[in-house]
Symmetry: C2
Subunit: 273 residues, 2 copies
């Protein structure tokens, strides 16, 4: 079946959406059939893939709230081997509308249940990438319930490093309560400025932390630091305004090279596990 990956980090602006778009597009270029799921009420993944969140008809909100709406109803093709379940800003309402079902764990499983017909026993997709909002609320928990793995997009800054332990605590809780298969596959460094002292220091801290977890049996004990880091490159910020991935906008730029190399590393890791 498909490999389901949640791109999560409660720290804002670290490259979650940019990674969903460009890692997804790179994997599609490398022959994988990719499903993207936008679980962020900002709808930035949807926007970045060239769709208009305001004119979708049905979207992930309907999938989660309306039993009659299936994943197939809202799926849209946005490129060769690239399909999306798009989001609108109304998705923000899900947190309160499902809150009543949160106590017994039903609210956290809605995405998992609704995506089963698209994924379980089917051979339509090789990889699923879920873009999460900058929080650890119900939308992110739904993504973790469905996911096999977590990849953490991260900026090598002090504040971004601080949230890692809370993030991993949340993964551990979901693994124990809802999804025993869940593990942390690795960290992708985004907007990387490798020449700065700050980046070197944060990188040292991060590597030491990941190494200390080896062999401890925790959900992140096999997590890797994907190589290469994705360098800061203004074309990665520009391509979102054209509704295109970096490969359709500037396929030769450093940003495209970096995401293609990271995609190869993510695919290779799976092949050997």
């Amino acid at each position: 079946g498909a490999r389901v990956i949640a791109l999560m980090n409660q720290k804002g602006g670290v490259g979650k959406t940019t990674t969903a778009v460009n890692l997804g597009a790179a994997m599609a270029r490398l022959g994988k059939r990719v499903l993207l799921i936008d679980m962020d009420p900002q709808g930035h993944l949807t926007l970045h893939m060239g769709l208009d969140p305001a004119s979708l008809g049905h979207s992930v909100y309907d999938l989660l709230i309306d039993p009659a709406v299936s994943a197939g109803d809202i799926a849209q093709e946005v490129g060769e081997r690239l399909v999306i379940l798009p989001a609108e800003t109304n998705l923000a309402g899900v947190e309160s509308e499902l809150a009543a079902d949160a106590a017994d764990g039903r609210a956290q499983r809605v995405l998992m249940d609704k995506c089963a017909p698209l994924l379980r026993g089917k051979d339509w997709f090789d990889s699923v990438l879920i873009d999460c909002p900058p929080s650890l609320g119900l939308l992110t928990l739904n993504a973790l319930a469905l996911a096999d793995e977590v990849i953490v997009p991260m900026q090598a800054h002090f504040l971004a490093l601080q949230g890692l332990s809370k993030l991993l605590e949340t993964v551990q809780l979901v693994k124990q309560a809802i999804n025993p298969a869940l593990s942390v596959a690795g960290v992708i460094l985004c907007m990387h400025e490798g020449q700065t002292i700050l980046a070197k220091e944060v990188l040292d801290d991060l590597s030491a932390f990941l190494d200390s977890g080896r062999g401890t049996g925790q959900p992140w004990s096999d997590a890797v630091l994907y190589q290469p880091a994705v360098r800061r490159n203004i074309k990665l910020a520009e391509c979102s305004s054209f509704g295109k991935s970096i490969f359709d906008y500037a396929p030769q730029c450093p940003g495209a090279q970096d995401y293609l190399a990271v995609a190869r590393a993510v695919i290779a890791q799976h092949a050997t596990s």
Copy 2:
């Protein structure tokens, strides 16, 4: 009374916390008595001011949940003319714990009610800056209920511009339902890379949008684009790891100059309104 400003933007990583710390510290250097309020469960404002969120005893969570805890109980001095109401990660629990009271508007007013003894009829503070999380949920709504004005930290990127209409819609709703005094004072450009085409294009869009609102009587019709923009400067990212403002870390760097100039502009705007 004190001028209460909410620093809000649901887009993640645009400079909300960095602005709360350094605009606050600059205003204090210019003689203002400043209260900082951390309404983000990440606790980054608290961390950036050198406190350890894990060892606070009482924090904003207790202020919002426990009727016996007052704002004075949790206030801590973090510099000359600089006091903070600090946050811990448990603040994330407030969204669900107060959800039952959200329908009748009581859940949105808790911060306002609890801060009244510190602000109303007292002359302890000249300015209050509230750091908001990257969402439009209950914590941000509480900040808007207490605030007189909103300042929007923003990066001149496409995705960051997209959320502005939803942000302003939320301000309008709070103004109509809870806080008639609320208005948008302006936008501070953060991490600015003025030489890029993307920044110039976004800036043009933003200026045209603000100009089109002049004289329309909407909450943002008097909003300004504060000058200067705060330039991208790695020292602004470094100082957070030392628990210091830019003025205590690198007072001569461009980041310090920019935030001092922005603080003068924010203070001058108030003097003439």
